[in-house]
């Protein structure tokens, strides 16, 4: 694992998957008061995939606890300690999420801690995080995903991999009022356009 570059890539302008498509403003039905959904593209988050090596789950789990005070979350769950969260993402697979550092830094931190228990890859650019807040988010999501969005089935802290309108996504219920959708950046614009259309009847806002 190479050292993260010390120099910050300030000379390069960073683009985002949603770019100009998600222009700030309010849209759709407006006569019903506050918008039902607020969208925000989160580009200030570092993400990395953590794939456990064969027969190393215990070691991985231990390393996580020791280094970060994190319990390896089971299927459908997430775990958070400080600014680092670990989301269940699939068979042997988790996504590490951290606010306040960049991908290479996160990757480096993980590599130091986890050693050869897991294969790691920076996904900070490959994945797009769309944050949804507001009273109607579950109604909007139900128009796309066949997974049960009821609080009993998708409580705070839940982290599931599913599909929205033919696209593979990952849903993380961060708190009562917020669900984060993570998906491949190449499909992000398509998904956003879909979600926005499905939100028209509730009115929606886009924040930057």
């Amino acid at each position: 694992m190479p050292e993260p570059a010390r120099q910050k890539p300030s000379q390069f302008q960073r683009s985002t998957p949603l770019g100009t498509v998600a222009a700030p403003g309010t849209y759709g039905r407006t006569d019903a008061g506050a918008p039902g959904v607020i969208f925000r593209e989160r580009r200030d988050i570092a993400l990395a995939s953590v794939v456990c090596h064969r027969k190393r789950q215990e070691a991985l789990s231990q390393a996580l606890t020791e280094s970060f005070g994190l319990d390896l979350p089971g299927p459908g769950r997430s775990a958070t300690a400080g600014d680092l969260s670990l989301l269940f993402a699939g068979l042997d697979r988790w996504t590490a999420v951290s606010e306040g550092e960049d991908g290479p830094a996160l990757l480096h931190r993980l590599a130091e801690a986890l050693g050869d228990t897991a294969g790691l890859a920076d996904q900070s650019h490959g994945l797009c995080v769309i944050e949804m807040r507001g009273p109607r988010i579950l109604d909007v999501l139900a128009k796309g995903t066949a997974a049960d969005m009821h609080p009993d089935a998708f409580p705070v802290g839940a982290s599931i991999a599913t599909g929205i309108n033919h696209l593979a996504v990952h849903l993380w219920r961060q708190d009562e009022a917020c669900v984060r959708i993570t998906l491949l950046r190449s499909f992000a614009r398509d998904l956003f356009e879909f979600l926005a259309t499905m939100s028209l009847e509730y009115g929606y806002g886009v924040e930057s």
Binding site: L91, I160, A161, G163, A168
Partner: protein, 93 residues
């Protein structure tokens, strides 16, 4: 249809792709006779009734899942991670 994923729980079949019969076995690497390879790739029991089959949870945990299902009624009896089954068989062998 709802497919029970051992990791994700019951999910809509639209999240999966289907491969087929989970009971066929790839011949050992050193098998040089063509016949077992032909049977592995081409011949199927194609039962009317109980069937063990592979589904891939592609819009989900990406696990290959061996599902037991009735091909006449579509009733599902249970499922298992294909990997676990493969390991178990390996150990038995």
């Amino acid at each position: 249809m709802r497919i029970p994923c051992p990791l994700c729980g019951d999910r809509d079949s639209g999240e999966f792709t289907y491969l087929g019969d989970a009971t066929v076995r790839r011949p050992p690497a050193d098998e040089t006779d063509l016949e077992p390879w032909f049977e592995f790739v081409y011949l199927r029991d194609n039962p009317k009734g109980w069937h063990k089959e592979l589904w891939h949870h592609g819009q989900g945990c990406r696990a290959w899942v061996a599902v037991e299902r009735d091909t006449l009624t579509h009733e599902v009896f249970g499922s298992q991670l294909a990997r676990e089954r493969a390991i178990a068989e390996d150990e038995r062998a």
